[in-house]
Assembly symmetry: C2
Homo-oligomer: 733 residues x 2
Amino acid sequence: MPVIFWLAPASAILALVFAYVFFKQMLGYDEGSAMMRKIALHVREGAAAYLRQQYKIVFLVFMAITVIFSFMAYGLGVQNPWVPFAFLTGGFFSALAGFIGMKTATYASARAAMAASVSLNEGLKVSFRSGAVMGLVVVGLGLLDISAWFIVLNLVYPAAESTHNLLIITTTMLTFGMGASTQALFARVGGGIFTKAADVGADLVGKIEAGIPEDDPRNPATIADNVGDNVGDVAGMGADLYESYCGSILATAALGAAAFLAQPAIAINVVMAPMLIAAVGIILSIIGIYLVKTDEGASQKKLLKALGLGVNFSAALIVVFSLAILYLLNIPNYIGIWGSILTGLLAGIAIGQSTEFFTASSYFPTRKIAEASTTGPATVIINGIGTGLISASIPLTIIAVAITMSYLFATGFSFHVSGLSYGLYGIGIAAVGMLSTLGITLATDAYGPIADNAGGNAEMSKLSPEVRRRTDALDALGNTTAATGKGFAIGSAALTALALLAAYIEEVKIMFVEFLNMPEFAINGKEGAVQAQHATFIDFIYHYEINLMNPKVIVGVFLGVMAVFLFSGMTMNAVGRAAQKMVDEVRRQFREIAGIMEGTAEPDYARCVAISTKAAQREMMLPSFVALLIPVVVGLIFGVAGVTGLLVGTITSGFALAIFMANAGGAWDNAKKYIEEGHLGGKGSENHKAAVVGDTVGDPFKDTSGPSLNILIKLMVMASVVTVGLAVAYSIL
Amino acid sequence: MPVIFWLAPASAILALVFAYVFFKQMLGYDEGSAMMRKIALHVREGAAAYLRQQYKIVFLVFMAITVIFSFMAYGLGVQNPWVPFAFLTGGFFSALAGFIGMKTATYASARAAMAASVSLNEGLKVSFRSGAVMGLVVVGLGLLDISAWFIVLNLVYPAAESTHNLLIITTTMLTFGMGASTQALFARVGGGIFTKAADVGADLVGKIEAGIPEDDPRNPATIADNVGDNVGDVAGMGADLYESYCGSILATAALGAAAFLAQPAIAINVVMAPMLIAAVGIILSIIGIYLVKTDEGASQKKLLKALGLGVNFSAALIVVFSLAILYLLNIPNYIGIWGSILTGLLAGIAIGQSTEFFTASSYFPTRKIAEASTTGPATVIINGIGTGLISASIPLTIIAVAITMSYLFATGFSFHVSGLSYGLYGIGIAAVGMLSTLGITLATDAYGPIADNAGGNAEMSKLSPEVRRRTDALDALGNTTAATGKGFAIGSAALTALALLAAYIEEVKIMFVEFLNMPEFAINGKEGAVQAQHATFIDFIYHYEINLMNPKVIVGVFLGVMAVFLFSGMTMNAVGRAAQKMVDEVRRQFREIAGIMEGTAEPDYARCVAISTKAAQREMMLPSFVALLIPVVVGLIFGVAGVTGLLVGTITSGFALAIFMANAGGAWDNAKKYIEEGHLGGKGSENHKAAVVGDTVGDPFKDTSGPSLNILIKLMVMASVVTVGLAVAYSIL
């Protein structure tokens, strides 16, 4: 292993060390009054109980899949023997990242509330440093695991001996990504259903029917709502971005190996490049996190500037350092590849800006939605859906441009077929660039829910309204700085999914060659037809298997879109059903427990937590199985051609639907807040009620179905990569 | 021209003759009291005024496009000289079909109301025969125009001389389809915005705020609402299905010519087959229409049976007769092609059944949406969107199966590349089979709005409630029988779009060959690269231009999905904006015109009609231009590869979104009706109010954006076919 490689595991460990330091620092803060500690404990226990339940089920699912993978690897021989283990560790570390994030957040909420009662700055420090724990844990665990597998597999299949070995290493590591994605999907779907069932239930009965404010301790669903923030927004987001981070690095590495099959000396460097860019990104993130600090009594503007300074510092320096890394590694056309990285960063920023434009109440789209409330909830919904659909077209266009440019930069401005592999590598590394500073961008994203929870704690423990105002300000601040981070997350999802798709085709090539050397597989009689028509199997793959006029490919695209619609419909309905159960329960408690509204009796919080937990566990199964099974079933029926089409359909329509849902949900949320700020009649007006309907509809859009889709599109590709042997050897058609 | 060909124009003329007879018969009925005549006149004038306005604008658009096409044909030489004329006639006849349908409907409404006051059976006769006028006009004009162009072009490029000539004929005729689609898009988008602005506006203020019933003459928007039914549901639907009908025949004919380039004797028959199946379908439709009659005083069950008899008779016999035609024409593998037709019919029926299941209140999905009203409008919306998304997955799966089976039947159960063209022909003819009996299925579909309008007239002219009950029964009856017809329309849209896509690739091949023979076009230097790599240009196209790993193709798919989301968002927002204007106007009239609510003063109906007209004219432009320009722009930048990807993205995601919107809208509508029938608290309850919000959101879903998408997916392909020369000769990348 070249010496420079060790930068990757070293900086990963560094990230974990700093995460530990920040965690300890946070624990050193005062957790406040007995009441505050009690509420925090309630939330912490609820969240831990939920995650225990969820991990139990996910563990069983992982066991089942591992058994199948073991059978494929050792029984059928259609898989690498390391696959089952790689799959397991990916799942384990993804779960661990989510768990640590959740623990940190639940320890931090009361402390952040207490700190915010001292000053805004103190509140920022506690919540931001807690968010940084999550950011650094995600990147630290991610890069550490990638490095570890790279080292282990290199011992078994020495990359120095042949580039084919390197290709086996990188494609096996994709299985690790599939483990992470599978866990992330369960975390997002389950956590998303939990949090939105509680949120929608609490809002519908509490805010609309009983007329009590958000986070009021008289609302039986309020603890469940706060637990939901931790298991959905924090643990779910942690698992999600862990998956994105690893996925982008692994896919790019696999494409790097494929691009230089004939040149082993170059190949190893090209494979290491994404890991090393990520390593430098970690170091820059840590420095960036330390830059986020202000004087006592700083204005909000100054705070915003402080946060921006940290993020922008890291982003700017990664541009410089990635060029240095590419140069040092002797990457061919390193200026071009650097252009690809720049393209990715710019695309991420542009997507973030467009999200901001479509969802912030300072721009006209969200204002129009707010104004539609004067004609009732129906027009609020119509406008929100219309605006959401339109808003999706911008990131789709940006991604189209980004694909074109990052490809062209990498190939030296040519669409010639011979440059295909390297061009695809350019697309992959653009995603790596966006996510390389995830350590700090995730910190700015994750501290929002922490500040939000701190506000909840402040409300329930009846701290002065000033504290709530400060935590709200921190939350809002987070939303602004998080825009860029979210743009990176969304943009990288599309590019990573594409890079994974390209890696799938590479894996198909390996499989085809492998099976042809095994006389017991006749590839279903395809062999004869293939050899009659095509000079080589590679030619066959390009000419036939991924040809858009092949009806199997077209059928695949239809089924890919089908999978996306089915999956999002299922998750939407799951939230609907779970929320109705919550509403029934909250209504029952208001009716049956005397003295709740007067504050003389305590509601049964635990019961609401239990309802959300049970609903989330049950409802997350079916959509997740859909995601895992469809690629396998399509592969078994329609073969590689069907799967290729399937993935293209899923990636493109899934990406579009995810953005539509995220933006419509965000816009409804902010339209409601805009009215609550006193416009159009303000809180309690008919307009406000109409806007609350929009916000409620938007909840599962932006926090359940939308974010789950971002994982779905990658998981389906990885599931295809891992089960490619089945599609190649056993497909019916 | 073979003698058997003349069956096509002959049966087309027969259809028009019978349409004229039915029209005259309808005019012979009594138009009722002075009040009824006055209302009918109001609606008729409003609708005529709107169409005049619309056709004026569409005329200008057609002129502009014709100039561009003329320049392409005569200036650049990238187009056949007949293209501009074919384009114009397609638009003209599509508009004519819509106009005649609208005229018939507006003459029929008062007469149907009057007839319904005599008996249910009389009401059925008048409204069904009027619907039949529309059905027969659409198929008559469609097949007549196709035959006429086939005859004319055959004189210029004698098909008997070379199959290449036949290919030129069929691809030129596709331009005719583009004209029809362009007009249909304007009709659907404009009409859809008009009708939903009026409907939503009338409902929001009338039903919800003022608490007066539907179609109450005190509501200022009520005439506009009824005008809307005629220009949206009737004229829009007529233009829409005219486009579908012609599109399926033309696309299949083009593929037939391409499949047998080397065998002229076979080719001409394969090209004629779809026209002749359509011809027989017309004759069967006319017989079927005559079968729809019952005894005086028949029960509703018996009426339903009568309608079903006509539709099923035609559908069953077309199965038998199409086999005979294929046999007589000596079509290769005629049993297989017949299997493709059967596949199409079964797929259409299955899609109709799935629509029924997801949108009828007798099944649990719609019941669940109705029950969600107990927790308010937000859960109604969440459930409706969830169910709508899930419901889209069924037709997507059905279409995937239908593509596979109709392809395999045509090729004799092989996916071998050599069978590609004929397999695609099989997919096209499956769509022709579904639409061949459009004469009668459209009659059962179009008579619904006529019965609905009759009900409106009865309500406004204060006929006895019994009359309204009867027209409602007729309307409901129509909804039931129309399910199959709608299934055929939706299913055929997807299959036709695919067949058109295949025709696009054929056109690309012709263009490539053509430009290579013209030294002044270097095809942007592609030539060298191409020749270096590929044995033939055809090989180049298959290997590179439509290869899914070509980044230009992938970018195209992203942009195709983008176009769909942008278009539907724009149409949704257009309805939202127009409806808000209508609400403001109705509120203003209630406020300013004293005595409206007491019935002593007449509201200003004309003003509401004018508002809808103006809004529809303005709002229809931008989305329509998006549809027309995107394929051209993508072609000019990314070339054939980009366009191919674009079309695949548009077809698949557009189809999915169209069904989602249609089903969600239908389910909300019926959930509301279910509550109005007395369930869950009935009319006026909080549940009912929540369900009305769902219904209102569903209005633009099911009547504006959804149906427009069905046209969009075909129009974008046809626009690509017609401008293919630009993409081949002038693309930048």
